[in-house]
């Protein structure tokens, strides 16, 4: 139904941060002094508006509001009307983006306090928030695509924020290029929709997608999945996400953990009516999710860079979400619940890592940390709560949401259900292992930092958001499962939650997962906690460790399969451009110039020559006319 009241003003959600970005970017140095405050204020205002809008939405029949904005393109058969759709699904994303976004903006005030380009940083963050909100609020695939590209741009700008560092510049390029592969998939999916259905709006596509042939639906589903994999760092496009940690840590927290990288999950959940019709595409999602879950968890065990471990953890956790949404109706709510919980605890963990880096002179090498629990008590406690939530400690948020995914997988009831459930349980064990290793190396044991480093707790402006996120990490799971059941809230989108016939009793699943988790923790203690951590990584290690340290050779594969052939192709094209195209163009220009000079000789300056030329023209005209008449 058309939006009324505050919901009609929901375009302000996008407009506010966008205006902030515009002011900061166009205002130049004049806005240096107060730019970060404006940037934070726009996002906080958007959050308050989002809360009010969501309250109003809860009272609406059918819980969906259409906001018509303007006609974006109207040409021929293509009529794209820009409009927003405020429904329960977009509402939870809007709250997550603006809520976590506000906290991270506040954190950044402290974290970026000494950076000369702080204003630019806040401008890009605002741009990101605006684009991300457009992504989740748009009422058509085209609007989603605009937001999709917008967050890609913001991500690129922010990864390369310290663009003078070669590593940051390279990482940004890598992220951009790998994302483009996914974007091509998304664009092709939209083209197919338009070619086959004549529309790109959610209402139009979902209303008529059933009329298409099965193969076409599967093609659309797979192309959308390619887009989702690119944005969410899923196999085979996962390699850019860990490198993206070259950006400032608040960026890692907001964009590369809590919000943007979950856009792929949003896309699949939003396209549920398409995937409901194509079991093939769903099976591929399941495979992608399961493989990524394991790859991320294994790689996470081997790295010594605190942010990279968290990044692989993100890859792995989004694998869980893909696995969940790939299960179809049974899994959408579980996947989204995990997404929200993950948004809280992973953002908190990244902010904690930022606080550690802040204390340790921007070092990220965990082998140089150790014994920080005493020096950074607030960081330790908040980080520790996030850690417990992530590994699924009983009754913290990860426990509820991860178990729900494993249950949903087992509920399939077939062999694949057992395989997927097994993979998910194994992943939980690995998660417990690498996160415990991270905790032990960072906060426990003997201090291994250099003499010049004096760890100190971060200022309040940084710790306050961490505390809020830690509280969220603890409580989110229980809230989403029992107090405000997400399944009921999302019922208008995905249908009423069905009481599934459980194959394995939920209590038993919880017990098994907890046991596996404890085993993971203990293993980590055996390997890491019991002994002294060497300051340099051991060189003589097993092949398994070496493979994990190389992130299972994803970069090697990418380089030999795509990058080198790509370089050969570009070299060949450059050669052809220099020799072939330029040669033709220059030759043509020389030819024209030469004929110009030759023709110019007729312009002698003598009237007799001119008159003769005219006479020649007249004879030609008369001859031609006579020929036409006679013939």
């Amino acid at each position: 139904m058309p939006a009324e009241g505050l919901l009609a003003a929901s375009w302000l959600l996008i407009a506010l941060p966008l205006a902030g970005a515009a002011v900061l970017l166009l205002g130049g140095r004049r806005t240096d002094r107060w730019g970060h405050l404006l940037g934070t204020a726009t996002v906080v205002a958007a959050f308050l508006l989002a809360v009010a809008c969501t309250v109003q939405l809860a009272g609406l029949d059918g819980r969906a509001a259409d906001v018509e904005l303007f006609t974006f393109i109207a040409t021929g058969e293509l009529d794209v009307t820009a409009g927003l759709l405020y429904d329960p699904l977009s509402a939870v994303f809007v709250l997550l983006i603006t809520g976590v976004g506000s906290l991270i903006h506040v954190f950044s005030i402290g974290y970026m306090a000494h950076d000369p380009a702080r204003r630019r940083f806040f401008a890009y963050l605002n741009l990101f928030v605006a684009a991300m909100l457009l992504l989740v609020l748009g009422n058509s695939f085209v609007a989603l695509y605009v937001g999709w590209e917008g967050v890609g741009l913001a991500s690129y700008l922010l990864i390369a924020f310290w663009y003078t560092r070669p590593a940051a510049a390279t990482a940004a390029k890598k992220a951009f290029i790998m994302n483009r592969i996914g974007d091509v998939g998304l664009a092709l999916a939209i083209f197919v929709m338009f070619a086959q259905l004549g529309t790109t709006s959610y209402a139009g596509v979902f209303g008529s997608v059933g009329t298409l042939a099965g193969g076409t639906i599967t093609a659309i589903g797979l192309l959308l999945l390619l887009g989702a994999c690119g944005k969410s760092g899923q196999f085979p496009l996962q390699a850019w996400l860990p490198d993206a940690m070259e950006g400032p840590t608040p960026v890692s927290a907001l964009i590369h953990a809590a919000t943007m990288v979950t856009a792929g999950v949003y896309l699949i959940a939003r396209s549920a009516p398409i995937y409901d019709l194509t079991p093939t595409a769903r099976a591929v999602i399941l495979a992608v999710g399961a493989v990524t879950l394991l790859i991320g968890a294994i790689a996470g065990c081997a790295f010594d860079d605190i942010k990279k471990v968290l990044a692989y953890s993100t890859v792995s956790q989004i694998g869980y979400m893909f696995l969940a949404v790939g299960l179809g109706p049974a899994g959408y709510v579980a996947g989204l619940a995990h997404l929200l919980a993950h948004g809280f605890f992973k953002a908190g963990l990244f902010l904690g890592a930022g606080s550690v880096m802040h204390a340790m002179d921007d070092s990220v090498d965990m082998r140089r940390f150790g014994g920080l629990a005493k020096k950074l008590p607030i960081t330790f406690v908040t980080f520790g709560l996030g850690y417990l939530a992530l590994i699924g400690f009983p009754f913290l948020s990860g426990y509820f949401t991860k178990d729900a995914i494993i249950e949903a997988a087992l509920d399939r009831g077939d062999v694949w259900g057992w395989v997927l459930g097994g993979v998910a349980v194994l992943g939980a064990g690995l998660t417990a292992f690498y996160m415990t290793r991270l905790m032990l190396m960072t906060f426990f044991g003997r201090p291994r930092w250099d003499d010049g480093v004096h760890p100190h707790e971060a200022p309040t402006v940084m710790t306050a958001p961490m505390i809020v996120l830690a509280v969220g990490s603890v409580a989110a799971g229980a809230l989403l499962v029992s107090v405000f059941p997400l399944a009921d809230w999302l019922a208008p989108v995905f249908g009423e939650p069905a009481e599934a016939a459980h194959v394995v009793a939920p209590a038993l699943v919880g017990l098994v997962v907890t046991v596996v988790m404890v085993l993971g923790v203990l293993t980590a203690w055996l390997f890491v906690g019991r002994r002294e951590v060497p300051v340099t990584a051991p060189v003589r290690v097993s092949p398994v460790t070496r493979a994990a340290r190389n992130a299972l050779y994803a970069d090697t594969v990418n380089e030999s399969l795509f990058m080198r052939p790509g370089q050969w192709l570009t070299r060949a094209l450059v050669w052809f451009d220099n020799r072939g195209v330029d040669g033709a163009v220059n030759g043509l220009a020389a030819g024209l110039g030469g004929s110009s000079s030759r023709l110019g000789r007729a312009q002698t300056g003598f009237v007799r020559t001119y008159a003769l030329g005219m006479l020649g023209g007249v004879v030609m005209v008369a001859g031609a006319l006579l020929a036409v008449t006679a013939g």
Binding site: A589, L592, G593, S595, S596, S597, L599, G600, A602, Q603, G605, V607, T609, Y610, A611, G613, M614, G616, G617, V618, M620, V621, A622, A624, L625, L626, V628, T629, A630
Partner: protein, 512 residues
């Protein structure tokens, strides 16, 4: 006894206003004291042209044949008369500019004094201003107004001479580089006479074939029989005479020399107004008199369009003088205009007439503006027309360079300028009539021609200024008005062409 023909004074008021002002101008020249002549003549000329412009607007919608069938006042007549009168008024303003040249005028004081003689050297420093150009220009404008209304071959010929003779004269009146100017005038006169002879011979042949010089009677004769050799030859020679005036290749050879030698305000006047008048006559002759014999002249115009576009674009590439470059540009644009003529279609149902008329407005305004900018950039010896002298102008005089860039972009047909809209209109008209090969050639020629327009922009902005480069004069009020009007119109017709296109579309019906 001969009855006096019916004569609709109201319908002919634009013509009468301009010719009346010209006659009064001659009297002023004879009787008024020397020091008041300039303001009076300028005022008179502006009154005549602006009055004629307003009169055409008031006459909008008139459709009649008057003066015993010799003159037709219809949509195309009034639209083109308004264009000529408007562009003529702007040209008069350029003539009246007094603050650019140290000698206060672009025109020689006494044209009859031999160039280089002691008397001539004496006159170079005088502050006296010659005012005969105003009545002469008014006669030329009057001839043009008559030319586009002529419904009778003899009247058309008389109009051709009325517009040409004053132009020959004022071409030779440049204050600086007098020999070049006089040479241009003589060349223009000799070749013009040559072309007029063809026109007159064609007229005689057509009369012999059809027994009449009235376009209506000729049309009836053409429709009745397929037309003998006499008629076809006559048509060819008439067209040659008109193509000469429109500077269509291969009858264009006078254009570069005359454009370069004539005083720049006169060149601007010729480039803008003569082109409009010549195309008005071409359209009327071809469609009103010979519309039924379209198959005979269509290949002719088709070929002329292609030759003109290629010659103009290719020869423009190697020009180093801006005025000669704009002259070849004028040849190329004549070719583009002929694609619009082709686009009128056999039955007159195409959009070619409206497109051609719109193109004439845009081209006239843009080229007038471009020549007006040329009058600003000067060195010790008058205008600095050599390309190399314009290097780095963007840094020294940003506004001048920006305005010139706008006109050049419009001439090249870049979107958001009037030139693009005009080209789009004529090409579309040609394609609708199935002449897509012509449109392809036109696009290629546009691409080639874009090179020499853009080269000037590159020179102005991306080259270092020359050491003793030209100075950019501060224009007086008249030139400022011209630049403001032409630049605004060039932009406005590029962004919001709807109103004028619509007007041209509604005016595009000939009365027979």
């Amino acid at each position: 006894m001969i009855d006096a023909p019916d004569f609709s004074f109201a319908a002919l008021s634009p013509l009468l206003l301009v010719l009346g002002a010209a006659c009064i101008g001659v009297l002023v020249e004879a009787f008024a004291p020397r020091d008041v002549r300039h303001p009076v003549q300028v005022g008179l000329a502006l009154t005549g042209t602006v009055g004629a412009f307003v009169a055409t607007l008031l006459l909008a919608g008139t459709r009649e044949v008057t003066a015993g069938g010799a003159l037709a006042v219809d949509g195309p007549t009034l639209f083109l008369q308004a264009t000529i009168a408007g562009l003529g008024a702007l040209s008069i303003l350029l003539f009246a500019e007094r603050s650019l040249d140290p000698a206060r005028s672009a025109f020689v004081v006494s044209a009859a004094v031999p160039a280089g003689s002691p008397r001539d050297r004496e006159l170079v420093t005088t502050q006296r201003v010659q005012t005969e150009v105003y009545p002469l220009a008014l006669f030329a404008i009057g001839g043009m107004l008559l030319f586009v209304a002529a419904n009778d071959l003899l009247v058309m010929f008389v109009a051709l001479e009325v517009l040409s003779l004053p132009l020959y004269l004022i071409s030779g009146m440049a204050r600086r580089r007098r020999l070049l100017s006089q040479e241009a005038a003589v060349k223009y006169f000799l070749l013009g006479a040559f072309a007029s002879a063809f026109f007159l011979y064609g007229l005689a042949l057509v009369y012999g074939a059809t027994g009449s010089v009235r376009l209506r009677d000729i049309r009836e004769a053409v429709t009745a029989e397929s037309g003998g050799v006499l008629m076809v030859l006559g048509l060819g020679l008439l067209v040659v005479g008109l193509l000469f005036k429109a500077s269509v290749a291969p009858f264009h050879s006078w254009t570069p020399d005359v454009y370069q030698g004539a005083p720049t305000p006169v060149t601007a006047f010729m480039a803008a107004c003569t082109k409009v008048a010549a195309f008005g006559a071409i359209l009327r002759l071809l469609y009103v008199a010979f519309g039924a014999a379209e198959w005979t002249w269509r290949p002719l115009i088709y070929a002329a369009a292609i030759i003109s576009m290629i010659v103009g674009a290719v020869l423009g590439l190697t020009q180093t003088d801006l005025k000669r470059m704009l002259a070849y540009s004028s040849v190329a644009h004549a070719g583009f205009l002929l694609t619009g003529v082709i686009g009128f279609g056999a039955g007159g149902d195409g959009s070619g007439l409206a497109a051609t008329m719109f193109y004439l407005v845009t081209y006239g305004l843009t080229t007038l503006g471009a020549f007006a900018v040329l009058t600003l950039v000067r060195d010790g010896d008058g205008e600095a027309g050599h390309l190399s002298q314009w290097a780095g102008l963007g840094a020294r005089s940003p506004l001048t360079a920006a305005v010139m860039s706008l006109f050049l972009l419009a001439l090249a047909g870049i979107p958001l300028t009037a030139g693009f809209t005009g080209k789009f209109a004529v090409f579309r008209a040609a394609i609708e009539q199935g002449a897509w090969p012509l449109a392809v050639v036109a696009l290629l020629a546009s691409a080639v021609a874009a090179f020499f327009y853009l080269r000037v922009i590159v020179l102005m902005y991306f080259s270092d200024p020359v050491a003793d480069g030209p100075t950019v004069g501060v224009p007086g009020l008249p030139t400022t008005i011209v630049l403001a009007v032409t630049a605004t119109a060039t932009l406005a017709l590029g962004i919001l062409p709807g109103a004028v296109l619509d007007l041209a579309g509604r005016a595009a019906i000939f009365v027979g």
